[in-house]
Symmetry: C2
Amino acid sequence: MNKTAQRDAILNELRAHNSHPTADKLYEVLRKKLPQISLGTVYRNLEQMASRGTIKKLSLAGHQKRFDGDLSRHYHIRCPHCDNISNIKVDSLINLDDEFQEVIKKIGCDNYYFELISLCDECKNKLIEEQKEAERIAQSKKREVLVWTN
Amino acid sequence: MNKTAQRDAILNELRAHNSHPTADKLYEVLRKKLPQISLGTVYRNLEQMASRGTIKKLSLAGHQKRFDGDLSRHYHIRCPHCDNISNIKVDSLINLDDEFQEVIKKIGCDNYYFELISLCDECKNKLIEEQKEAERIAQSKKREVLVWTN
DNA sequence: GCGAAATTGGTAATCAGTCTCATTTTTTAG
DNA sequence: CTAAAAAATGAGACTGATTACCAATTTCGC
């Protein structure tokens, strides 16, 4: 694996944040520093580094692949609404993870992958607002019908 | 949600097998009974039923979505080579799953999703064959070099 | 039966991700 | 240091899965 400015930039960018970006998000950011970098290069390097274990690929549940430069032991919570991923690091999960690893090894299974799923605060609020709005509309429609039938 | 022949057919087909088919595979099969059914209808209904919990959706970014009509408690092993999914149902996993559910609830998390990852037997054999073949080629190249330098 | 609401088929469009290939960069061997 | 080999790049074409659109049809509550 040769050393290239592009690969370095991708890895640095990924390590500088803990936002689990998608390839195209990363591309967008990287273009500010390397205006001529291509999306293909970003994809190529991310896949390469992921297969070598330099970074992690998170692809469960969402529809776009995401990447993580943080190799320390931690877990991910994905918001089912906006698809963003945040980190979580608690002992109880680590213990369970250990148990899981043991159990699946006994079954003859190589590995497993999991994600927590939970609405992020932002989306929770957004959904509450939307619901209120929907109720408001429903109410005003009821009123219309009353006026009409009167 | 109205009753339609198409939706019934899709659900029946999905329940009749435990193969976790993709939408297009399902479409292919369904066309034998409903020749005029459209791929869009299959996708639409699968998504709808999944969002209502009538069926389950198994998605991995960068891969085709798969669907499962079996709502009984079981887990999935995905082959990282051919992407096929098989079922597994063992007590040790169920117990761990229970523990997980408890722990994440305490964290304030709604749900979680996991998949086991393991090469299926077919792919395991295929990869062994490929490796052998690669070695054979490497050997014959070595021999060529010897002949050449002699 | 009737009209509103839901659903359909067909097809166009989108979107993530991959592939190709001529050119450039990096590494290796002498 | 230099030349050849190997690896990587950028630009854009391409693919395959999924979604969007919309006129025509079907379903369902009354």
